[in-house]
Structure formats: structure tokens, C-alpha cells
Symmetry: C2
DNA sequence: CTTTTTTTATGATTTTAATCATGTTTCTGC
DNA sequence: GCAGAAACATGATTAAAATCATAAAAAAAG
């Protein structure tokens, strides 16, 4: 009898709304929002939308983790973005009135709201504040993408692998033990983010494990030596 | 006695305005815009803005070509975007209220307007249409960046090189002869876009030249066999 | 609880592209 | 026009990472 909180109580009491782009809405606007959304539960591994599909709304993640991937025509996947609760999803194609250029697949069971397209556009036009929030989100994603381009161009696989682990930490954080990455990805999925072969990914993770930078336990990865990992990633900050 | 058209006649008669995000403004709004911009001429190789600088306005390219680059901390440059007349420049940092994360450098003499920051934000809030235009631009840049990520992850240098030439064609088009790319980049700059070494870039261009895919004449590159180049780039469309 | 499939692991080999080295051509400033 | 610098070119060598191959471990299916 598990229930999705946001279905029961509505957006006004949705705890992730406050950390989403919709935090700028007032009470009345929030109720409007609530009237134009519907929620759904997705099982792990389900598609939320697929490449080339037409958007008919904005997705907002209530809970769960999602990967955005494209398929190179040789079949190899590329993970472009990782999405977490409070994030909006599928906004790019929606806003530019295009088909999705990537697919969204849940990495675990998820609860996701879909906000009506027409309502969302009206809300954006009516609320510059909301629009700026969305713009900030897109701006952030663009910056991340361009940072990724620089890494792919200039760093070797080892550096990118370390960077990817730091990225996972930054995105999903740690579990209660304060060192285990709060997300489970297969080696292949990590490789699809890093832009390397599955074998190289496995090899490097093994190596990091041997060197006590990380601890591998099945799909669970713990970061044992953050400082060393940052060094390995070759990050300037 | 060459004069910058937009200084003399104002935005209302600016011929690139119509192909810019500002094409959605009406006559009155355009005059407003005109009152809040200033124009400047840049010599080839000049910085329009630099990494870590604070934006205080939106740049709009009247004429000229510009590269957006970041410097990896080992000193290697990465060309992230190429900008042409009618394009806006420096919008990402401005909109997200951040420092520039890349530098803008002119590839040839250029004439560039700078639109006052405060005015621009007000105009955006007042005109959802304008905002949507800017959003579409950013959305396009994000898509391009993500396509670039997939290429860097999954394609080899030869494929990426062919792709880069097609990208230059798509961005700047041909000269009057209908086959010579209307932009002059050094081999190093091309390498900085493709994500390879200068030597590899030179080698591959030579090879394409030998194979009659392209014709090299100094910095000028002509595309002789577009079909074959598309095949070499391994593009699905 | 087995069987089958998928994922992880690791070694050997090959391919790709970077790096190093050197020479030539082209551009730039005087 | 000439000197020096920068850009272009090409060969040789090395390094990095993909691919191929095989096997163990883990997960899923029956």
C-alpha cells in the first residue's frame, strides 16, 4: 500500500517542489500547477520517454534516479545527463518544440509527475521568475556539457574515470555511511558516461580499488580517498 | 571611411537583427533596444570577453566570426562554440549570473553590439517572446554540445575531423565558389575543436586532400566530395 | 535449487593516435 | 627584402586504450 505523497497531498505539500524550479511559485500558482499535472510510478529500467518521441509535457522527478542516454548508430550508448529528485526532465525538447534527442530511463523505481505542456508554456509566459529558473537549469546543463567536452578532448581515461566518480558524488551524494555513492550503475553504464570501453572501465575501477582510492562491493562504490581521487582526476579548483 | 551600419542607422535598420533573437521585437521595442546598446569594432584576434570575467551585457554580432574557447589547465585550448553574425554571445553567463567560463576571441575583424544588462533582463521579463527566442538559442547550443559529447566518446579522430568540416560548412557556409569554407582557421584551431593533436589534424587534412575529399590552399579548405565526407564522418541522417 | 544469462574480471594482442623529431613553407615585423 | 617566428608537413617511436579471448562470479529465469 505504498502511496505517492504528491498524489495524496498535492504540489502545495510536495517536499521536492521547494528544491525544484517551481519553488518560485506562490500558493495560488502552486495550486494551479497541481491542477495541471498527473503523477505516475515507474519501475527500474523503464523508459520515461524515448529518442525521437514528441514531448507533451514536462516531467518532474518526485523520487528516483534517471539517466538520459542517446544511442550512437553503432549501438553504443552515451549517458548525457543524470537526473535526481527535484529535477525537471525533458525540458529541452519541450521548450524548443523538437523531438527528444535522447531517451530517459529510470535507474531505480521512480515517481514522476508530468505537467501539461500548454499549461507549462502559459505559466512560463506569465511568470518570468519561473522562466528564469528554467533558464538557469538549462544554463547549468549547458555548462556541464561543455565541461564534459573539455574532459573528453583533453583528459585520458583514467582522469575521466576519477572525474566521473566525483560527478556521481556531486550528483547523488553518499549513503548514510558518508562514503558510499548513493547510486548503482553497471560498469557498462559508467563506461557509457566516461566514453570508454566496458573493459577499460572495469580495469580502472579494479585499479582504483587495489590502490585504496575506492572500495568496490558489487555495484556499490565507496570513496575511500577523496583527495587522491581529486588528484587523479586532475581538477584545477 | 568604412562605417558600421548599425551605428549610423540604428537597430531598426540593422540587417542582421532580423535573423537574430531580436526579430520578435516590434518597432517600439526595437527603438528601446537601440537606446540601450553600444557598438564596437574588434580587430582579428581580439578578446571580446575572457574566462572568469563578469558579464555586464549581452553581445550581439553585427559582422565577423568568433570562437568560444576554454583553456584546459595544461594550457591546451578547447573550442566550444563558433559564433557568426546575427548570433548572440555571452548569454549563458549573463543569464545564470555567473562568470564567463570561456573566452570569446574574434577570428576576423568584427563589429559587435553590447546590450545593457539591466535593460536586457527587463526586456526579457517584459517579452516572453524574446525570452523564448533566447531559450531556443540555448537549447540549440545544448543539443550541439551533447552531439559533440557523443562524437568525442564514440567516434575516432578521422570521423570527427570529417564531421568538423561539415560543421564548419553548416555554420559559416561556402564562399561564392560554392565549395570553399567561408572561414579561416589554423590547423591548431581545428584540432582544438576536434579534440586531437595539431599533428594528427594536419595529417588527416593532408590525407583528405590526397583522397580528393577536400582541397587545401593555405588556410582555405574547399569541399570537393561532400558525399564521401559525410560517409567518412559516419553520420546517420 | 539448477540452469542459463548477464555482468565482472583479467590476460594477450592490435590498433589508434599522441608524442618526439626534424624540415619546409608561410607569415610578420623591421 | 630579409630575419625571425609561426604554421604546416611528415617520418619514427611510444604510449594509450580498444579489441579479442576466456573465465569466474553474480543475477535472473525456470
Amino acid at each position: 500500500m505504498k502511496n505517492n505523497g504528491s498524489i495524496e497531498t498535492g504540489c502545495l505539500h510536495c517536499n521536492v517542489r521547494l528544491s525544484s524550479v517551481f519553488n518560485v511559485l506562490d500558493q495560488e500558482q502552486t495550486q494551479e500547477l497541481c491542477a495541471h499535472k498527473s503523477c505516475a510510478v515507474y519501475k527500474k529500467g523503464q523508459y520515461v520517454f524515448t529518442e525521437n518521441g514528441l514531448p507533451n509535457g514536462l516531467f518532474c522527478i518526485n523520487s528516483g534516479k534517471i539517466k538520459l542516454t542517446t544511442t550512437g548508430y553503432d549501438g553504443k550508448e552515451q549517458i548525457l545527463r543524470l537526473v535526481k529528485s527535484g529535477d525537471i526532465l525533458g525540458y529541452r525538447a519541450l521548450l524548443s518544440n523538437e523531438r527528444y534527442h535522447c531517451s530517459a530511463i529510470t535507474l531505480e523505481d521512480a515517481s514522476i509527475c508530468i505537467i501539461d505542456k500548454k499549461y507549462f508554456f502559459d505559466a512560463l509566459a506569465a511568470s518570468p521568475k519561473l522562466m528564469f529558473e528554467v533558464v538557469k537549469k538549462m544554463s547549468h546543463d549547458l555548462k556541464m556539457a561543455e565541461d564534459h567536452i573539455v574532459s573528453l578532448s583533453q583528459k585520458n581515461v583514467r582522469e575521466r574515470m576519477a572525474e566521473a566518480l566525483l560527478f556521481l558524488k556531486a550528483t547523488y551524494g553518499f549513503e548514510e555511511d558518508n562514503q558510499t555513492l548513493n547510486v548503482s550503475l553497471s560498469r557498462e553504464e559508467i563506461a557509457d558516461y566516461v566514453g570508454t570501453s566496458t573493459e577499460s572501465c572495469i580495469r580502472l575501477l579494479s585499479e582504483f580499488n587495489t590502490d585504496k582510492l575506492i572500495l568496490l562491493k558489487g555495484k556499490k562504490i565507496s570513496i575511500l580517498n577523496l583527495q587522491k581521487l581529486i588528484q587523479t582526476a586532475n581538477i584545477e579548483d
